[in-house]
């Protein structure tokens, strides 16, 4: 049962945070906000403990959560109930997610990237009580990508500190992540008919990065959830509603601490906030990105922890360009082609109906991914073979949900202010 200690701790923390924030306008529903605040809170707390020189232990992680939860009982209660009874399609979406969650939680993690990357670092962090810089900086540990943002390993390590086996701990995390992903897709697709929202939720819960055993224990389910949560918060963020802005900021910070792709997606969310009409009210999103990135990068730089030498270097990119199509052709498979086509359709739908700022997110992510592949120190075909399917598939469920929501509830630009020419630049 100790495998469930981390998820339970995160959900209690998320529930406590939700009690304080749910009254704010634009806040996502509890099924999105609780897991978002929970995983983000656990990750942020571990970094905070490290920054003040305290070890992460069951005591230093558990007691503050209990105290915060107790304090949250004093939070003012909402006078209005916005959530009615769940409809039949919401129940159907939940039922679709249940078997995926059970399958994922019942299968101990065994994928390569779990055993020698995420799970390994989780075991190291749990044993040391912190992000053991001497282990990360040991040159022979380069295979474990010491530079990767640590949040997924931190979540697994939380359960290990309570006595869990790493493989069981990673598996247990999958269950709440499956439900959270499905709920975020449901929420991101609002505006679409309930049946389609349920389809979006089910597509999220059964996404290949969530359910395939070869990906067991990987960070992609967490990434997929955080992207979907950010997108679910996006419309309220773009309207400048406080609850939406804070939820998007939490998702942005958590994304920036979850894989390098997460950092690119977080930068996309921050850019969307910056170029939207609500940029003055959405500044916390950019601040969250800067704080999260600096927290991890400062730790890395101060301890001499190095990652792969990916440099934006024209001399390295130019020779790669002619070989790139052949390298991509080598790794093409039916699932990859289907995922790529789905992405193309999502972009079309978003371009036609979503708020223009929305497109900043896939644009930043796509540019970052292409640059990483073109500058990788590894063989390009090898790098593509072992990552391209996951890179493309992880953010897809959230974007599909957003595309559905946008297509059935198209963005309408605000009417020009009196005295302004139509087409003039909007004021913030």
């Amino acid at each position: 049962m100790s495998a469930w200690s981390g998820p339970v701790l995160a959900l209690v923390l998320g529930w406590a945070g939700w009690r304080w924030l749910h009254r704010l306008p634009g806040s996502p529903p509890p099924a999105v906000l609780i897991p978002l605040l929970g995983v983000g809170g656990v990750g942020a707390w571990v970094l905070l403990l490290e920054s003040v020189g305290l070890p992460a232990t069951p005591l230093t992680q558990g007691v503050p959560v209990v105290l915060f939860a107790a304090a949250s009982l004093a939070a003012p209660r909402s006078n209005t109930t916005t959530a009615g009874r769940p409809g039949v399609w919401a129940i159907a979406a939940t039922c679709a997610a249940i078997p995926s969650a059970i399958l994922a939680a019942g299968r101990p993690a065994a994928g390569w990237d779990f055993r020698y990357l995420w799970g390994l670092k989780a075991a190291v962090f749990a044993g040391a009580g912190h992000h053991d810089p001497s282990w990360l900086a040991w040159p022979a540990h380069a295979f474990a990508h010491p530079d990767y943002p640590p949040m997924w390993s931190d979540l697994i390590a939380t359960s290990i500190r309570f006595g869990a086996d790493p493989a069981a701990a990673a598996a247990a995390w999958q269950a709440p992540l499956v439900f959270a992903l499905a709920a975020s897709c449901w929420h991101a697709a609002r505006g679409a008919p309930a049946g389609l929202r349920a389809a979006a939720a089910a597509a999220g819960a059964w996404a290949p990065v969530v359910t395939l055993p070869v990906h067991g224990g990987y960070a992609e389910p967490l990434l997929a959830f955080l992207v979907a949560a950010a997108l679910a918060s996006l419309p309220a963020m773009l309207r400048g509603e406080t609850g939406g802005v804070l939820a998007a900021a939490a998702a942005t910070a958590a994304l920036a601490l979850t894989k390098n792709e997460g950092m690119a997606l977080a930068a996309g969310v921050a850019l969307a906030a910056a170029i939207s009409g609500a940029r003055r009210r959405a500044w916390p999103v950019g601040a969250a990105l800067v704080v999260a990135v600096l927290a991890w990068r400062t730790f890395m730089w101060s301890h001499g922890i190095e990652g792969e030498a990916i440099a934006i270097d024209g001399g390295r990119i130019a020779p790669r360009l002619p070989d790139a199509p052949a390298a991509v052709a080598q790794v093409l498979s039916l699932p990859l082609v289907l995922i790529a086509l789905a992405w193309a359709l999502v972009i079309v739908a978003l371009a036609l109906c979503a708020a223009p700022a929305t497109l900043a997110i896939p644009a930043v992510w796509l540019v970052a991914a292409v640059l990483v592949y073109l500058t990788t120190p590894n063989d390009l075909a090898w790098h593509l073979r072992w990552s391209l399917d996951r890179v493309l598939a992880a953010p897809l469920p959230g974007f599909i949900a957003l595309a559905l929501g946008s297509a059935w509830s198209p963005h309408r630009a605000a009417p020009p202010a009196p005295g302004k020419r139509p087409g003039a630049a909007p004021s913030a």
Binding site: A140, A199, A207, W343, L345, S406
Partner: protein, 139 residues
């Protein structure tokens, strides 16, 4: 600034078709992953089957250990796989082969895998299966 979009305009209809097709393609991709054989459990790494249990290897946490592997036909890739598995089995230690050993760190602990011996000044303190753990006396 975009022009207002109407629910029954051609662009909205096109967006809806695109979004619906994207859902179908995502589901098809998920199904095809299973049909094409990626739905199976990952095999246990070969290095895991070769190595013995290392839990009772008497090296205190934080020890840096040089790994010497007997020559193998599988070459460098097999050695790398063994190093990965060693890290997984004993995350409290730091392993490195002679090739990747930092110049600034002196070798005081050695793990040999297979029929190979470290320097003459080494003393074997633990052995299990193909693995033997040695401490190196200072000169």
């Amino acid at each position: 600034m975009t022009e207002p979009t109407h629910a029954h305009s051609p662009r909205v209809a096109l967006a809806r078709v695109a979004a619906l097709l994207a859902v179908l393609l995502a589901v098809a991709a998920s199904l095809s992953e299973r049909i094409t054989g990626r739905g199976v459990e990952p095999a246990e790494p070969a290095a895991s089957r070769v190595l013995p249990d290392l839990h009772d290897m008497t090296a205190p946490p934080g020890t840096v250990v040089e790994v010497i592997v007997a020559p193998t036909p599988a070459g460098d890739s097999a050695v790398k796989a063994l190093l990965h598995e060693l890290a997984w089995r004993r995350p409290d230690l730091r392993f490195a082969t002679t090739d990747t050993w930092p110049d600034t760190v002196s070798v005081e602990h050695v793990l040999t895998l297979g029929d190979v011996s470290p320097t003459p000044r080494s003393r074997r303190v633990w052995q299990s299966g193909i693995a033997a753990y040695w401490t190196v006396e200072r000169e």
